[in-house]
Amino acid sequence: MSEEQKVNDSEAMDKTVEAELDSHAVKHPPKPYSNPYLVGIGLGIVLLLAFVIMGRGLGASGAANTVVSVAVDKVAHEHAQNNLFYQDYLGDGTTSPFKSWLVFEILGVIVGGFLSGILAHRVRKETGKGPRISNKSRYIFAVVGGALMGIGAKLASGCTSGQALTGGALLNLGSWAFMLSVFAGAYILAYFVRRLWI
């Protein structure tokens, strides 16, 4: 088979897959989300199990820090070794930095999220945004917002999972201060960025 043929074939295949996905979407519209209080109890029990079994809570931003630390260490080993931030996630080098609770937990989140999405016909290629902005602007703002999250999460030593949810349930003083500031920050800015969403 020539290269060109292969490309044509794969394009044709993409189209079939897309057409199938479209007809699938028509036949199986996304189910509505579950009752918030029941979901909350489910989430709370998962968190409680983490406390009971492991003696620690949930998290997310730490896994991103591990990925970045490993990448920087690969590209500039000396540089990474001289920075306390990277050091923290790289460890002493005796075990792989990826062998961490948070990294494995996040791999589970991908599987669990996908599973729930598939069961409710909610896995589909789409972009969440308001009607007044283009996809491209939405992506730019997504990167900017994500970057602020990455910065804020390190300053606060945790994000909505590790601080607000986990620390909230343990009545951790810093976590509650953090949680109130997250809501304060978001509500203060919401009016000014409303074009993105409504």
């Binding site: 989300y33 918030p36 909350g40 989430l43 709370g44 998962v46 968190l47 409680l48 406390f51 003696g55 949930l58 997310a60 931003s61 970045v68 630390s69 920087v72 931030f85 609770w101 948070l102 494995f104 937990e105 996040i106 589970g108 989140v109 599987v111 999220g113 409710a120 969440g128 945004k129 703002f141 997504a142 990167v143 917002g145 994500g146 970057a147 602020l148 999250m149 804020g152 999460a153 300053l155 606060a156 909505t160 999972s161 607000a164 909230g168 349930a169 343990l170 951790n172 810093g174 201060a177 953090f178 949680m179 500031s181 997250v182 920050g185 509500y187 203060i188 919401a190 969403w197 409504i198």
Partner: protein, 200 residues
């Protein structure tokens, strides 16, 4: 006392990674169930049109909090063995504000963006790229901001000891506040959802 299992040496590090993966599946599953995989749904709470995210989050907090309180009250769990993040008040308040800005601009938080990616949301993929980039920026700046980062370091401190109020009273107060919050959330939801025609 026999809980938490891991701290009493019931299993080792390798098994703990398997448990992390399984706990993660439960975490991701319920996040998606609640609509946390969709940026529009997450952000709707800041426009008061759909308070689902607020309700899910505080129901989860009080569920886990009551469980921990119960297990420690009957002497089954030693809560001093549960890992908690040390309080550094000022950087955590500043970090919280920055994170709040990022939330309403980017539409996700780190955990929910992973669920967004898993369910095909393109904006979530860009958000994750942003998070990695932000982590890189703060890592490179870290040597210069360490003074600020370690400011107002108070160690591991929880509200009952800090305010010198019995554990049970704080738990009760949080439950009362959350229930009041749910009522308030439902009220504003009705008010604002009608106005914008959203919030289903």
């Amino acid at each position: 006392m026999m809980l938490p299992f891991f701290k009493f040496g019931m299993f080792g590090d390798e098994i703990s990674l398997v448990i992390a993966f399984i706990i993660g599946i439960g975490f991701g599953f319920f996040l998606e169930r609640g609509g946390f995989g969709s940026s529009k749904k997450l952000v709707a709470q800041f426009y008061l049109t759909d308070m689902t995210v607020f309700k899910v989050m505080f129901t989860a907090i009080i569920t886990a909090m009551l469980g921990v309180f119960f297990l420690s009250s009957i002497g089954l769990m030693d809560i001093s063995l549960i890992t908690i993040i040390p309080t550094r008040l000022v950087p955590q308040i500043v970090g919280g504000l920055v994170l709040g800005f990022g939330f309403v601009i980017g539409g996700y938080c780190p955990g929910t963006s992973v669920v967004g990616c898993a369910t095909g949301k393109i904006d979530a993929i860009f958000f994750v790229i942003g998070v990695l980039f932000g982590a890189f920026i703060i890592a490179e700046l870290f040597p210069y901001i360490q003074g600020f980062y370690n400011m107002t370091s108070m160690g591991k401190v929880c509200m009952p000891q800090y305010f010198n109020i019995p554990y049970g009273i704080v738990v009760f107060a949080v439950v009362v506040l959350a229930v009041a919050g749910f009522a308030g959330a439902t009220f504003v939801e009705k008010k604002f959802a009608n106005k914008s025609g959203e919030g289903k």
